[in-house]
Subunit: 230 residues, 2 copies
């Protein structure tokens, strides 16, 4: 994975820089740049940064976008409304996968909350990035757009769901033991009528639990055993 | 696509309900429910809702999560820390794809900013949903988590990048005409040395523009023509 840089051009609303820093932090990113911010980070930013306060504190400021991108091999510009003359436009998922293929630093560039990116800034980037949205309401809050981008960048690294406690999986033999036990219980209790489809029904039910655990089979069989004893 | 419901359990921080409403609105969702909110929506919520003010205004309040989910066929609970005993855990992408397969209403359930979901609330849901994040900083802001979920739900509907102006694509014949013209120019100007690899080089360059447009070919050939005339 390359070094990923998040660049905010002329952010203005209090809290947004901090919320963007927090969004980056949750996805393991740390390189935040501000281009010509209209104000220094405010207390509101610090409050919104929460655990991303270190990202906010380390943010560097640049006079122009070109300066902020100088050492980057690729720059991706977020825009809700791709222009006619624009370079290639990718959705954010494809852009993140594309970015992940670089060895050199790569930047994702966000415009100001009100005016977006200028034409000059768009031209400093090689790719426009679109976050699919309702065309009638396509304007995401700045920090929320940063969150979606950072999330997709993490997904592009092959993020996985953290492993759960390693439960012993039920084997086919465990399952067959359960089915036989169910059938025994159904016959013994008179619940299984001639021609009954019960056997198919519970196979169908448990087939939809592909990660069935041995302990779960044991619990069900324990219950059956206890019922049959009575 | 089923009707998707976003359920916030005991939201407390000012602005979060509004920002969640805005996040929903950007992705075309409208059914917001609040479970036992610790406060009525505040002006800060309305301000943060921006274009999602109608979603916020239409939000219904319920005393319990089970009541909010009563008519849903499936409920997905967001959690940063899947519990040992938890039902199946999916990442948010898989969960959104799973949810899209239902015909009946489906809910995504979010806990309070500070305490998350109670055990009882988790058990009212059939699936836990994990947003991949840096394990050391996995706590997304509530509205940002809502944004990522709504984004993935939209992607699961097969969201596409809006079509650009339909430019006429360059045909193979257009490309060959360009290559021939470049070679003519290179020979005429003495730039093409014997054994030169130039022909391969410009083919390689333009092969990396798979969506080359006829007009772009015409512009380049116009320039060559103009240079050759001099």
């Amino acid at each position: 994975m390359p070094a990923i840089r998040i660049v905010l051009c002329r952010p203005s609303h209090p809290g947004n820089i901090g919320a963007a820093a927090r969004a980056m932090k949750t996805m393991g990113l740390a390189d935040l740049r501000l281009v010509a911010p209209t104000r220094a980070p405010l207390p509101k930013d610090e409050w919104m940064a929460t655990h991303g306060a270190d990202v906010l504190a380390a943010a560097r400021t640049h006079a122009t976008l070109v300066e902020a991108l100088a050492d980057c091999a690729a720059a991706f510009a977020l825009t809700a409304r791709p222009r006619e003359w624009s370079p290639q436009v990718l959705d954010v998922r494809a852009a993140a996968q594309n970015a992940a293929a670089f060895a050199e630093p790569v930047a994702f560039v966000f415009g100001s909350e009100d005016a977006g990116l200028t034409n000059e800034e768009l031209f400093a980037c090689q790719t426009l990035v679109h976050i699919p949205a309702d065309p009638a309401n396509s304007s995401l809050n700045l920090a929320q757009a940063v969150q979606v981008v950072c999330y997709e960048l993490r997904m592009a690294q092959g993020a996985v769901v953290p492993a759960m406690r390693a439960e012993k999986a039920a084997t086919v033999a465990d399952r067959e033991g359960l089915y036989a036990h169910l059938e025994e219980a159904a016959r013994a209790s008179g619940f299984m009528a001639p021609g009954s489809k019960l056997r198919e029904r519970w196979r169908r039910l448990f087939s939809r639990v592909p990660d069935l655990e041995r302990e779960e089979v044991n619990i069900l069989r324990g219950l059956l055993k206890s019922l049959l004893k009575k």
